[in-house]
Amino acid sequence: MARKILTEHINVPGIETFDVYRKQGGYTAVEKAIKTMTPEEVVEEAKKSGVRGRGGAGFPMGMKWGFLAKPEGVPRYLVCNADESEPGTFKDHHLMKSIPHLLIEGMIISSFALGANKSFIYVRGELMYVIRILEKAIAEAKAQGFLGKNILGSGYDLELVVQPGGGAYICGEETALLESLEGKRGNPRNKPPFPAVKGLYQSPTVVNNVESISNMPWIINNGGDAYAQIGIGRSTGTKLISASGHIQKPGVYEIELGVSVDEFLNSDEYCGGIRKGHHLKALVAGGSSVPILPANLITKTAAGEDRLMTYESLSDGGFATGTMLGSGGFIVFDETACIVRNTWNFSRFYHHESCGQCSPCREGTGWMEKVLHRIEHGHGSMHDIDLLVDISKKIEGNTICPLGDAAAWPVASAIRHFRDEFVWHITHPQEATAPGAVYMGEMALV
């Protein structure tokens, strides 16, 4: 069995309560950090661990903490990004509802490290019951003296606030999240200034994902070096993967980074293989926004090496033959899935979720969705395919926040790898629009 850091105790009955969590060794990391360490030492451990942001971008967390400006007399904030809304990603939800104290413990340690006296957990509004679980857990921790004034007699104060969002995907972008947290419309801000300099209420702010922060208790208990030994190269530690789609056992799995994609997909410990009688067609490895991969590029890279579940291996070959680990939303498609329909569906999502601030994203996402809708419903023409590629190129990289990229990549990659399927939809509109019809051309070759 692989090592578990986040989900080790997740199945213990009653782990959502303070008492059971404490019995399983909970809050010892807070005691260790606050009583025996300085904030700088905690930051140092985070840097040593090499833990990378688990929200999707994969930026090293310790380094992000290092960028935090520390002007005198200005408060600093830690904000936990629990606005997990990427289609295909549901790991934070699982973590927060099952073992809320892990996040709270991580928040206390991280806030202590950054010198924040008020920290926020911004949870997406649809997860109201998770918000109640978190609030209950915070009340318990407060009653036990782990939150509030003078934590464990150290003189360090911390107030933890759970803020429900309005349910907008864009508020998962860190600056849009901060705007929303301030009570404004959730529009991403222009950067610079970065949140580390001017974030929440124009004060230095760090925004971290739930999973990143939840790694902190283990890192403090076992040391950053021990964490760095798990995984391969710059992909250290473990990662929660939300597996969904046409597999035997969908669910949230904690893997050590470096497990091969083949093992993750086919071993009984994880996904358990493609559902019986079907075979693999495509894979989205890191949530809906990363490029889709066709079957021949999933377990092997273009160079013929085994593809591993690491940041580097998944992005091997760039976007031409690779993808990204992203937030770990592992969506598997067998041969019954229609790529055009799926791409249209993703595109519809981004059209709906664009904030409407920058012109390329506001107009481009809607345009792509309409063209894809047309192709899927048998009204496409050949030049629509190149039109889609062109629109996606014009959106990519030209917007304030990465939502534009996220909307462009799935479309561009689907056309790159499954162009014949798009062509078939256009040349055979009647067959393509028949109920349950799927293009089998490529599958015949496998």
């Binding site: 907008a168 864009i170 419309r185 222009n190 059209h351 709906h352 979720e353 664009s354 904030c355 409407g356 601030q357 920058c358 012109s359 390329p360 506001r362 107009e363 481009g364 996402t365 809607g366 345009w367 309409k370 063209v371 047309r374 039109l387 014009k394 990289g397 030209n398 917007t399 304030i400």
Partner: protein, 371 residues
């Protein structure tokens, strides 16, 4: 004590060096070049959302994206993405490419396309036509054809207040009016609702904007989305003649432009600078209620660029300077005649060749139709 002057930063913009103060944006540096030498006006990136007098505006329309090929003297690496010139501050030794970079021009073309796909293109009946920034932008950077085949987004017209009409269908969501309403008046009732391409400028539950400076949203609007109800459908702007004037006003600066048709003042607006920006906002009394020449002290005709449509038919033909873009266009399209065919004078041969050519042309068009 001697005044300490800030260290000036040197930046190269399209090959032209200019020194600017720290904190200047790339756009301001480009404008500085153009202000020093009028013939360089075409170098300045277009701005659809950025409005200098309104802090925090900009960065949204992406029309002004430029390529930074060297970040600074200290770190001469190029910036990976195109950057919005209106909000990117210059660094010493920065090298910026605007009109000299293909990728920038290509992106700009696509921005026009994006802005126009949901725009009604009702210029023939739009009051803004002739002084519309989107028209200028599309004229200079856009394409003649559209690739958009779907239905365009439409909205109902909304009356916001007694003087202003909102025609959301024309809006390009630059947020200028939102910042104007926010920054020059108290009590926020005006903002953006909804999301993505469904987002719209609106007032709080269709509440009227009711304050003395509400009319300024009309001036800042780059398109015809916010129009002056006292002027709607009265006239085309290029038939009216602008005159600078002022009066003593207890609410605002009182510096305005009067727009004449004959002897009648048909419209009053704030004064706009070279970049189409209002520096001194005016009150509603001056704008909507003071339309007699007797109330104003005239200062003389407003200086309008000769290339502007507003100055059409008002100046002697021999003095009108052709706009730069036309000359540039002609220059780029100019091709030396490259005909290697033998020079023939025999009539039969010529007739035969022309029949042959016609046949070829017919075949080509047939083939194109069949595709």
């Amino acid at each position: 004590m001697e005044e300490v002057k800030p260290q000036l930063l040197k930046i190269t913009f399209d090959g032209i060096e200019v020194e600017v103060e720290p904190g200047t944006t790339i756009m301001q540096a480009a404008r500085k070049i153009a202000e020093a030498d009028e013939s360089q006006g075409h170098l300045v990136p277009p701005a659809m959302c950025y409005y200098k007098p309104l802090p925090v505006s900009g960065g949204k329309c992406r029309a002004c994206l430029v390529k930074v090929t060297a970040g600074s003297a200290k770190d001469p690496r190029p910036m990976p993405k195109l950057v919005p010139s209106c909000i990117t501050q210059v660094q010493d030794g920065m090298v910026v490419e605007n009109t000299t970079n293909e990728a920038v021009l290509d992106t700009r073309k696509s921005i026009v396309e994006f802005l126009l796909i949901n725009h009604p293109l009702d210029c023939p009946i739009c009051d803004q036509a002739g002084e519309c920034h989107l028209q200028d932008f599309a004229f200079e950077h856009g394409s003649v054809k559209t690739r958009y085949e779907e239905e365009r987004r439409t909205f109902d017209k909304i009356d916001i207040g007694p003087h202003v009409q909102l025609h959301m269908t024309r809006c390009i969501l630059c947020y200028r009016c939102v910042y104007t309403a926010d920054q020059i008046t108290d009590g926020r009732v005006h903002g953006v609702m909804n999301r993505g391409d469904a987002s719209e400028i609106s007032t709080y539950i269709e509440k009227a904007i009711d304050n003395d400076f509400s009319g300024n949203v009309i001036d800042v609007c780059p398109v015809g989305a916010l129009t002056d109800k006292t002027f709607r459908f009265k006239n085309r702007v290029w038939f009216s003649k602008p005159e600078d004037a002022h009066r003593d006003c207890d609410k605002c600066c009182g510096k305005v432009t009067l727009w004449y048709r004959g002897d009648e003042v048909i419209r009053v607006t704030a004064r706009k600078n070279t970049w189409g920006e209002v520096n001194d906002f005016i009150c509603n009394t001056c704008r909507f209620e003071t339309k007699q020449t007797s109330s104003w002290v005239l200062e003389g005709p407003t200086k309008v660029k000769r290339s502007s449509v507003i100055s059409a038919n008002k100046y002697r033909k021999d003095l009108v300077k052709k706009p730069d873009f036309a000359l540039k266009l002609a220059a780029t399209q100019f091709k030396a005649i490259d005909d290697t065919r033998p020079y023939v004078t025999d009539e039969d041969t010529i007739r035969h060749q022309s029949i042959e050519n016609n046949d070829k042309a017919n075949h080509r068009s047939l083939a194109a139709n069949n595709n």
